[in-house]
């Protein structure tokens, strides 16, 4: 008989985030985003809409950018999760994308920034030679309300070009 987790009981969940195992307990209904933010203390992953449109909650799940508001924590067991907190080096060195967003003024209020960084990281890692049009299409996945997008595109493009140089 298949095991069923009751609705009102928190179940133990092990999440592997940025290379570290987090042992938490979560009701089945708890999303990955809420679990990262409230149980793992990783508040860099933001919630902007909770229905999969804005992308502020984007994290990498086994290398692919996904909306963490549309995943339950219980679904993410066993996966390799990466969040904005894992982008910089262990010594604190900013990731090339973080540097580029800084240099190109790719952020203003910074609320969408972690989502855009993780989206961009996932795109460039899996498609390092992505073309300009495809990159723009990929970046249309997330919303920014401050920058007008141009500087975000320029930042990501510069990292792609530097890596290919």
């Amino acid at each position: 008989m298949t095991e069923i987790s009751p609705a009102d009981v928190a179940v133990p969940v092990v999440l592997r985030v940025n290379g570290t195992d987090h042992r938490v307990s979560a009701e089945p209904r708890r999303t990955l985003a809420d679990t990262l933010r409230e149980d793992c203390g990783l508040t860099g992953t933001h919630l902007g809409c909770e229905h999969g449109v804005c992308g502020a909650c984007t994290v990498l799940l086994d290398g692919e950018p996904v909306r963490s508001c549309l995943l339950f924590a219980v679904q993410a067991q066993g996966a390799e999760i990466r969040t904005v907190e894992g982008l910089a080096g262990d010594d604190g060195t900013l990731h090339p994308l973080q540097e580029a967003f800084w240099r190109h003024h790719g952020l203003q209020c910074g609320f969408c920034t972690p989502g855009f960084l993780m989206l961009s990281a996932g795109v460039l890692e899996t498609r390092p030679d992505i073309g300009d049009d495809e990159l723009r299409e990929a970046l249309s996945s997330n919303l920014c309300r401050c920058t007008g997008y141009q500087t975000i595109v320029e930042a990501v493009r510069s990292v792609r070009d530097a890596a290919g140089a």
Binding site: M1, T2, E3, I4, S5, P6, A7, D8, V11, E27, P28, R29, T31, D34, E50, H51, G52, G55, T58, L61, E64, P65, V66, R67, C69, L70, L71, F72, V74, Q75, L119, V123, E137, A138, S140, S141
Partner: protein, 299 residues
């Protein structure tokens, strides 16, 4: 915007999934990629008692060509249809060519955004049955067959019977959509797809798919299919518009005439995203453009 409570099962076998569906019936809901279901749960517009996560079940994410059909496993993510690779009858795995092989990527790029395509599944979209969803329009236009499993049984449902109304299909509560069979269109077919949406990645206001078969000798159309989404509770076929094409040679004039018939044939109701009159206008434009696209596409 936090979902209501639900019990959760993540069986690691098909039997386990069918067992839970059998036990809980319409209290249970299948969770595949979750890209349509979870937003509705976050809004509490959907509040299933039991979630059956099929993410740990093997064997639902294959693509294979058998007897002139492409079988797409329910858990194949949208992204894989951007460059479909299928197991062939001889056991080899290779990129899907032909008309269907060109059509699927053309359609897939309209499905949501990249992160949605990385999680969302073909079967999930079909079972969710949004009338403007690209895969539902494709399934209806190409007369796909839906393979439904239940404990101890399997049945095949034709697309014409599958989509009943908005978000409602012919699947019984204890049934799982396991796969969808799409006809491999021969090289005498021409297919086109065109959609109008407000923003990149949004659901279409209206989308149209056309597929016509050309008589090799005369160049005239011997068989025609026009499917449209966004004009009814389900994706619809437009037999009158199809009939105007049969026996004629493709061309701008014919396409416009068929599009005009199509616009008159649909009976949309208006909503926030478009009035009935506007949707008719879009049907005219989308059908004409899909036909034009198909006319120029390589076989």
């Amino acid at each position: 915007m936090k979902p209501a409570r639900f019990a959760y099962a993540a069986p690691d076998s098909l039997e386990g999934v069918l067992d839970v569906l059998d036990r809980f019936g319409d209290e249970a809901k299948v969770l595949s990629g979750g890209q349509s279901l979870v937003p509705m749960m976050n809004f509490r517009l959907a509040r299933p008692e039991v979630i059956v996560d099929i993410g740990r079940v093997g064997g639902l994410d294959g693509m294979s060509v058998v007897n002139g059909s492409l079988t797409v496993g329910a858990r194949v993510i949208h992204a894989r249809l951007e460059a479909p690779v299928a197991a062939m009858a001889d056991g080899r795995t290779e990129p899907l060519g032909g008309v269907l092989g060109s059509l699927l990527p053309e359609v897939a790029r309209f499905v949501g955004h990249l992160p949605i395509r990385a999680r969302g599944t073909f079967g999930g979209s079909i079972a969710h049955a949004d009338p403007a969803a690209e895969w539902c329009i494709l399934a209806r236009t190409l007369d796909a067959e839906m393979v439904a499993l239940r404990r101890g049984g399997e049945r095949v449902i034709a697309a014409a019977d599958f989509f009943e109304t908005v978000f409602t299909t012919a699947l019984e509560p204890e049934e799982l959509l396991a796969a969808v069979r799409l006809p491999i269109l021969g090289d005498d077919w021409r297919a086109g797809f065109c959609e109008f949406s407000r923003r990149a990645g949004d659901f279409a206001v209206v989308a149209a798919m056309t597929a016509v078969r050309l008589d090799r000798a005369t160049g005239a159309i011997s068989e025609a299919r026009i499917g449209v989404g966004g004009v009814a509770g389900v994706p619809v076929r437009l037999p009158a518009a199809e009939a105007t094409l049969v026996g004629e040679v493709p061309g701008a004039g014919l396409h416009a005439a068929a599009a005009e018939v199509a616009a008159g044939e649909v009976d949309p109701s208006g909503d926030l995203h478009g009035s009935a009159a506007y949707r008719r206008d879009l049907v005219r434009a989308m059908v004409a453009r899909a036909l034009a696209q198909g006319a120029g596409a390589p076989g």
